[in-house]
Amino acid sequence: MAMTELNQLVLQISAEDRALIRAVEHGLPIVSRPYASIAQQLGTTESNIINRLGRLIDNGAIKRYGVVVRHRELGYRANGMVVWDVPDHEVSRLGQCIGRFPCVTLSYRRPRRPPEWPYNLFTMVHGRDREEVTRKVREIVESCGLHDFSHTILFSTRRFKQRGAQYSQPAARKPDIKLKLVRSND
């Protein structure tokens, strides 16, 4: 099942790299020598940090390196998660086709969960307003030849939380742990 496939992708990450990931996952400090600052925090050298980040880029752990923007704050107030029910043998081609549109920021295959969830392709479409998202989806249907397949647009109405993923929790913890549920969002 899905998790087995996932496990094949997960990289073996050393404890040293885990500490580095923890130090950078919420962004670099905006100072003249950010890597020197991280190095000091981790008790190592600036060049060691830079080399190890370079390796994480080379081995594919890091997909993109740079400024991460928030769409909503830039005027792209509408986002629709557009889910498609396409034949399994076409999902890869169609997913790549949709992923090439500049208004699209995600294109993933995910499992169907019949009967309540028939969709196997998930894409995120951004626009200044709903009309623009709807128009873009029509363009995508047109351009990728998706007329025959059902899709639905799930517009987001409220954002409760948005931040970079946190990869650095302990590998396992006891299920009976009591979480404090009174923290504010973010």
């Binding site: 997960v10 740079g66 400024v67 799930l154 931040r163 993923a165």
Partner: protein, 158 residues
């Protein structure tokens, strides 16, 4: 602290900082000085402007975007929550450090969130805890394949 709603509300410098450095930021010891050199301004001006954009929320962060399911394991989860309980349940779910995105969407499945953990075991435990605390079952939809080549988001695409 203002949150401008349109890209034209940003100065030319801000627009370039938002748009031109989303990928392939050089891994040099002095990235902000390098950006300043490209832009023909001072390093201080780059850092101040970036800090301001980060403070007002236009920039989420500067640094790595990790490829899904390489460093940790994640899944997209959906729940169907009665409208009058949605806000309360959403707050409970957002409180989990493993939850990084959490949105209300217009659908019978009206709460959608991403859960990221360091291992499959840890992910299973967290999903179970979330169901326990929220009091509703979740539908887990882990990514099976990624078709998206992330080149950043061209803010001037229209």
């Amino acid at each position: 602290m203002t949150v401008p709603g349109d890209i034209t509300a940003y100065s030319g410098l801000e627009q370039r900082l938002l748009n031109d450095f989303q990928r392939d930021m050089p891994l040099s010891a002095t990235p902000f000085a390098d950006m300043a050199e490209q832009l023909g301004i001072s390093e201080d001006e780059v850092m101040h402007t970036l800090q301001r954009l980060q403070n007002n929320g236009a920039i989420s962060r500067i640094g790595p975007v990790f490829r899904p399911n390489r460093v940790g394991v994640s899944t997209l989860a959906a729940m169907s929550i009665p409208v009058h309980e949605l806000e309360c349940v959403a707050r409970i779910i957002s409180a989990f450090p493993e939850v990084n995105h959490n949105y209300e969407r217009e659908h019978e499945f009206n709460l959608w969130f991403v859960v990221t953990a360091s291992s499959e075991e840890h992910l299973d435990i967290v999903l179970h805890e979330i169901e326990q605390h929220a009091g509703y079952p979740l539908m887990s939809l882990p990514m099976l394949e990624d078709y998206f080549i992330d080149l950043g988001f061209d803010i001037n695409w229209r």
